[in-house]
Point group: C2
Chain length 243, copies 2
């Protein structure tokens, strides 16, 4: 079993205890290994979901474009995450997904997913359960956009991302490597790129966090957590609920 498979298995097992049949079905999701260049558009909004991907290495982001040409990034995907699952489940894709870095992923055809779920309904429950935890992150993001100031948003996003990365073994309490540009941050946080730059400068001058040259350093984790009102409990999990 590859490192990726064990990571995903561990993630899913946090929700549902999986039997051998479930694990074999899951293993079949990893047959088609693919590689993509940075900037490649993996999934196109509005098209029927032909396939989803399980991210093995690299970063991606899912986003929606608006008629006026602006975009809103909904979420960032890191290794172990699914891409485009909802597009397959709802038969139509409501967002696009773009590779932020070069990335490695398993392509899972829509038919694989539907057949696999029919044969292994407990696996289906586990996958959807994990998706429902992802929704908790989207909700936090929504609160960011609705009610937090630009500084608070940035602080909250960087802390959440750091916590997620640590769960998959990338980065530590001191900081993490981050391939996102300030344009990505702007589209994530609903700000202009210019203002993102000012916010980052402000947080740096306050001694809270430094984001430079592709690296985020938490200079004052406690102060940053305080500013952001960050509570990581929604990311934690401690054992399968469904046995």
């Amino acid at each position: 079993m590859s490192i990726l498979q064990s990571a995903l298995t561990r993630k899913l097992s946090a929700f549902v205890a999986l039997a051998d049949a479930d694990l074999q079905t899951l293993a079949r999701f990893h047959r088609r290994r693919r590689s993509f260049a940075a900037g490649h558009q993996m999934i196109h909004e509005g098209q029927p979901g032909q396939s989803a991907f399980i991210l093995a290495a690299g970063w991606a982001c899912s986003y929606k474009m608006l008629p006026d040409g602006t975009r809103q990034i909904v979420d960032v995907q890191i290794p172990g995450d699914f891409l485009g699952l909802r597009g397959v489940l709802l038969r139509t894709t409501d967002h696009s997904v773009e590779a932020v870095t070069h990335l490695e992923a398993s392509e899972v055809l829509a038919s694989d997913i539907l057949e696999g779920f029919a044969q292994a309904p407990r696996l289906a429950a586990a996958v959807l359960w994990a998706a429902s935890r992802d929704e908790a992150m989207v909700v936090e993001h929504l609160v960011d956009l609705g009610r937090r100031s630009a500084d608070e948003r940035m602080a909250h996003f960087l802390l959440e991302l750091g916590a997620r990365l640590r769960l998959v073994g990338a980065g530590d309490a001191a900081g993490f490597d981050c391939p996102l540009t300030q344009y990505h941050l702007a589209d994530l946080l609903g700000l202009s790129a210019v203002h993102v730059n000012r916010v980052l400068r402000h947080l740096r001058e306050e001694g809270l966090v430094t984001f430079q040259k592709g690296r985020v350093v938490f200079d004052d984790p406690a102060g940053l957590t305080e500013l952001a009102g960050f509570d990581r409990s929604y990311l934690d999990q401690d054992g399968p609920l469904l046995r």
Copy 2:
């Protein structure tokens, strides 16, 4: 079978063809009928999810409070929707739910859900599948907050709500009855109540939509749709994917 049950069954059957055993399990979710006064807090953020509810009549809203006392409403629930499901699945509730009007709901204990899901994994998949469609609405809401102007947000929200209500037989193309106050709209759309008032006046003066005395009237549906960039395809569904 009650009207509510058939509505929920229809909703779930859009995703997964349910067998008799699944339907019987689903029926057991409706044993505990409860009634709540407007303003009652159904679910408290931070507490372990003891039970969820299936809304039969009335409106509710789920929200998060911030340390500074402001709140962000994440979603509005109307009849046929689940309340507090994620709190049960993730063992801890990441948001609160409040009754907007007097409401009728079936209380479903956490143990009912977990036992039911273990016995009827296809039902579990169906419920989580429906939850994943709800996430599509949260994503639209997120885009509202991140990248749409106040006018566009209001237009988009009212159109989406109207479309959802029509799916459950409340309201029509002309408009709908809406018990939300301007304070609710403010907390939904990330605006101040004062600005909500100005936005509503502006949309009314433009002849697009009128919201007065608890009733929303679409004066110019086409113009409103154009302003909002509204595309309702993410709400549509046309037959079970998993047979």
